[in-house]
Structure formats: C-alpha cells, structure tokens
Amino acid sequence: MSDIQRLKDIACQIRRDILRMVTMAKSGHPGGSLSSTDVVTVLYFNKMQHDPKNWNRSGKDADMFFLSCGHESPLLYSALARSGYFPVSELATFRKIGSRLQGHPATDTNLPGVFEASGSLGQGLSVAVGAALGKKLNGDFHKVYCLVGDGESQEGQIWEAAQFASHHKVDNLIAFTDWNGQQIDGTTEEVIGPDHLDQRWKAFGWNVVIAEDGNNMEDILSAIKLAEELQAVEPKPVMVMLKTVMGKGVDFMEGTCKWHGKAPKPEECEAALKQIPETLGDF
C-alpha cells in the first residue's frame, strides 16, 4: 500500500471518529474538524517525530503540535488515540463528566499529547511561537506545528504572534491555516471581510505556501516540503494556507457553516458514516 493510501485510510477513520464522538456527546464541532482532518493526519502519521508511548509535556526531543482552534478537539483526540497516545476506546468519553477528553483540550486531565489548553481563540499560535523559541534556546532542532482557523485569524492576538515570530526569526515553526472560508455566523467574507489572509501573512514577514487542495494528501505533503525548503534558506516562520472544504467528506455538511458547532442526530450520523469507509475499526 502506498503511503498516500495509508494516510487516506487513517483520515477516513478519523472522520468517522469525529462524527461518532460528536453524535454520542450530542455536542461539539464537526465542520472544522472535518476540514482539517487531512493536514492533522499528515502531521501525526507522516511528518512528526514523536513517541506517543513516552510523551512528555516538555516536548523535548520531539516535534510539537498545537491546536490553536481548540474547538476542533475531536480531531485532535482521534489523531492522538489513533497514534497510540491513549486507548481508542477512550474516545467514547468525549465531553462526558469525568472524562480526560474535555470539550476543549485541557492539560489538567493529564491526557497525553495535549501541551496546552486551547478553546479561547487566538491564543494557541502564541504558545506555539513560545515553544519554538524554547526549542531554539535549548538547541533542540525539532519542529513546532500549529493549526489556526481562518475565522480565528480575526483575533488581534494572531497578528501579535505573527509580528513576534517574524521579528524574532522563529524559523522552526510551520503553521497552517484551515482556510475553509466558514465560521459560525456565515462565511468569513460575510462576517468580516476582506479575508486576504495569504497577503496578510506575507506582509507580516512570513513565508507563505498555498495548498490549492488542502484536503488532498499530495498537495499537503508538497506544501509542507516547500515550507521546509523555504525554512532551510530563510530564517522565517512559514504559514501554509490550506484551501479546505468545511465539513469535508460528508455531502450535506460540506461548504456550509451550519455544521460548525452542531452535532448530527443519530440518523444523520448514520447517513454521514455511509459516505466514509471504516478502515481501522470504529472505537
């Protein structure tokens, strides 16, 4: 089996996990989780050097991933469980009382793989920048990755982080924008345009790479490769803009903000799961 096919299979399973977790919890955020599934799959199952069984919050001698858009927690939890950070069966506890899988990622439940709480939007990129700086100070040559929402990028703090990372030449950080054009109240243009996010990142001194299909494994991999090549020659952070589809993989969820933060009913979940093959076994 080619590596691309392996990644696609994992992404299918993660999408099923997301849908089932959110349905069982009767709450959560499927839309953005589904649009970012492919890049997170590439990171955890292809790019990142990490040791799920010996995870340590210091991130020492490992790559680190930060989910700035914390509402995509079901995606993170599924990727972590499927990587072996904790038992896949624990995904069934998502958002339930006493669970380590809080509505938004938390550190006080000691869930392996979560470096920092997120959920209040706009903050995670700054933490990733700090972690990347810390790695540079420690002479640790591993990378730091961070996923940011396009709606989230309306937060001023994102641009504070942008200028800081650029000024301090944080060149061991590759960030991704889930550029699905949707948020809660509508499209990003309707809510507060103009978007121009690629130009903004450039203006803030970052190198920018665009993945024309941010849900396509080949496109994502070549965008990351290009980001790495840019970083090898220029001491700059890189933003990979992923042109993704909100709700990717489920026809009635695609391209709309309606499923940003709404759980499907059991019968809707059934209809959705029919569109996504079970590749690794449901939890």
Binding site: S58, A106, F115, S118, S126, V129, A161
Partner: protein, 317 residues
C-alpha cells in the same frame, strides 16, 4: 514595639530588577519578556547581561503571556513584565487559559500597581488585580512590602513551581526588611507582637501599619502587625492565631475593598472565627492623577487611617 529602620526609600520595581538579575545569573533557564516597558519594569540590566534570554514583545501583551507559556513548556522560567493594569486586566483571558488553567510556570511581574502609579491617572491605576488573580485556581499572588523583599520574592518566585502574580509598584517607599532575607511564598510575616488588635497589611502599607502600631501604643493599644506578603496561598494559621489572640482586625492594602486581601480575611473570619474587621482600602471608586503621597492621603491609605480603623475595630469587640 519592635523597631524597624528605614534604610532609605527605594522603589519596589527596582527590587524586582535586582532580583531578576540575581536569579538570572544563578539559573540559566530564567528568561524575560517585556512589552515596550523594559525600562519601566526594570528589566534593563537583565536584558543587557543576557540578550539571548530577553525577548521584546512590543506593545502586544496578549501574545507575550502565551509566548511565555510556550517557553515554560520547554523548562524555561519566563518572567513577563508590564504594568499591572495590563498584566492582569488587559490579558485576563490569556492568564486564565494559558497560565492558570494550563498550569504553566509563568511569572507575571506586575509593576506600577495601584493608585501610587500616580500622575498617569485611573487608566493605569489598577485596583482590582489582587481580586482578579486570586480568583484563578493555582495562581499564587505575592505582594512584597519593600525593595529588599521584592528582590527576594522575585528569587522565590523563580524557584516556585507554578504560576505567580508578583505585584509591586512605582514609587519609592521605605526599605526596612533584610537585604538577603530568604522569602517564602505562602508565609505571612509577623513583625510586631501585640494583644489588642491584629493589623494585616501588604505592599508598602506594611510600613504604614508599623507607624500606626507605634501611634496606637501611645494610646495603650498594642497591635500584632503581620505582613501578608502572600495573598494566595494564604497563611491561615499565622493569621487566625493572631486574631484569636487579639479579637479584632484591620486590613490595609492598596486595592479596592472588593476582591482584595481584606475581603479574603473577611471570608476566613466568617467561616472560622467571627470578629470585627475594619478595611483600609479603596471604596468603590476609580483613582485619579496626583502624586503618590497625595493620593495615599486622599484615598485614606496611610498610618493615620490605619490608627482610626484600629480604634474602631477595638471598640467593636
């Protein structure tokens, strides 16, 4: 009355600067970040000696807090410095999620706290930061009383495992604690033994409390004076034992009554040992421009007001 000597007025923010430099020399994991107030918060010496461990964040406090959280994950001990109004008020959500909830080892150096920031006026004079910070689970809140203690508390904060809100100020105030006294986070320091009233003070009001105790002694009222240098975790034993002995309390702080150290003591008394309590703090009203000493007087934050409060407390026993 135990005698204390003021060895000369000094600003507590400079105590922080000296402490940061000292601990920076001792521990290479200490790093510092400033938001265009490096000089005001006295990080200059540290930044000069350790340029690779100092990060200018620009006027972007929210990002600075979270960058510090990220640095701490790698075992760094970051001190973020800015005015208390911005360190606590402007970035409350960042401190809440990235520092307190995430239990990151970030030290918030909150300078220019309170009304004695002076002429800049109420926009900059935060009087609710103790309340904001002590409400956060896991956050330690430290309010040292003078230059030397701020220096020693800075060193202690670096060694403390967990987030610390270290509050200090701009004006020069009496310096009377020991130069190299080891500071313990979580300990209230008893400075004078008395039997009629307990005076609990923090920050530079501790000196005013000592002056008040001297004055009260002339009237035959002896005061237990306690420096509540750590608001959280609170040294319940030292405080309760004193109040059980004296039967009444005055609290003195440069803060609103709402949310301050005094209200914390009120809660303690209500649940453990009901006793009369008088607040020396600022009522429900913003500050204004003026010199620090004018403002202290105008807002009732001096020895004279502590004396009056002690008389009232004693008479209510």
């Amino acid at each position: 009355m135990t005698k204390y000597t003021n060895t000369g007025n000094k600003d507590t923010r400079s105590g922080f600067g000296e402490g940061l430099l000292a601990i920076g020399r001792e521990c290479k994991d200490v790093v510092a970040l400033a938001a265009d107030l490096k000089g005001s918060v006295k990080m200059d010496a540290f930044a000069k000696e350790f340029p690779e461990r100092f990060f200018q964040a620009g006027i972007a406090e929210a990002n600075m807090i979270n960058v510090a959280a990220g640095l701490s994950l790698n075992g760094k001990i970051p001190f973020v410095g800015t005015f208390a109004a911005f360190a606590a008020g402007r970035v409350y959500d960042q401190v809440r999620m990235a520092v307190a909830y995430s239990e990151t080892n970030v030290k918030i150096a909150a300078s220019h706290a309170g009304i004695t920031l002076g002429e800049d006026g109420a926009t900059h004079q935060i009087l609710e930061d103790i309340g904001l910070m002590r409400m956060l689970p896991g956050m330690s809140v430290v309010v040292p009383c003078d230059f030397n203690q701020t220096k020693n508390a800075t060193i202690a904060a670096a060694k403390w495992n967990g987030p610390v809100y270290l509050r200090f100020g701009r004006p020069s105030v009496p310096n009377f604690t020991g130069e190299n006294e080891v500071f313990e986070i979580g300990k209230a320091y008893r400075l004078n033994d008395g039997k009629d009233v307990t005076i609990l003070a923090c920050g530079h009001l501790v000196w005013e409390a000592l002056l008040a105790a001297e004055e009260l002694e002339k009237e035959g009222i002896t005061a237990d004076v306690i420096n509540v240098a750590t608001i959280k975790p609170l040294d319940y034993d030292t405080i309760l034992n004193s109040i059980k002995k004296t039967g009444c309390v005055v609290t003195a702080e440069e803060h609103f009554i709402f949310g301050g150290m005094g209200e914390m003591i009120a809660g303690l008394l209500a649940s453990h040992f009901p006793a009369p309590l008088e607040f020396v703090a600022i009522a429900d009203k913003f500050g204004q421009s003026g010199t620090p000493s004018e403002l202290m007087k105008a807002y009732g934050l001096d020895a004279e007001h502590i004396v009056a409060a002690a008389r009232r407390a004693v008479s209510r026993k």
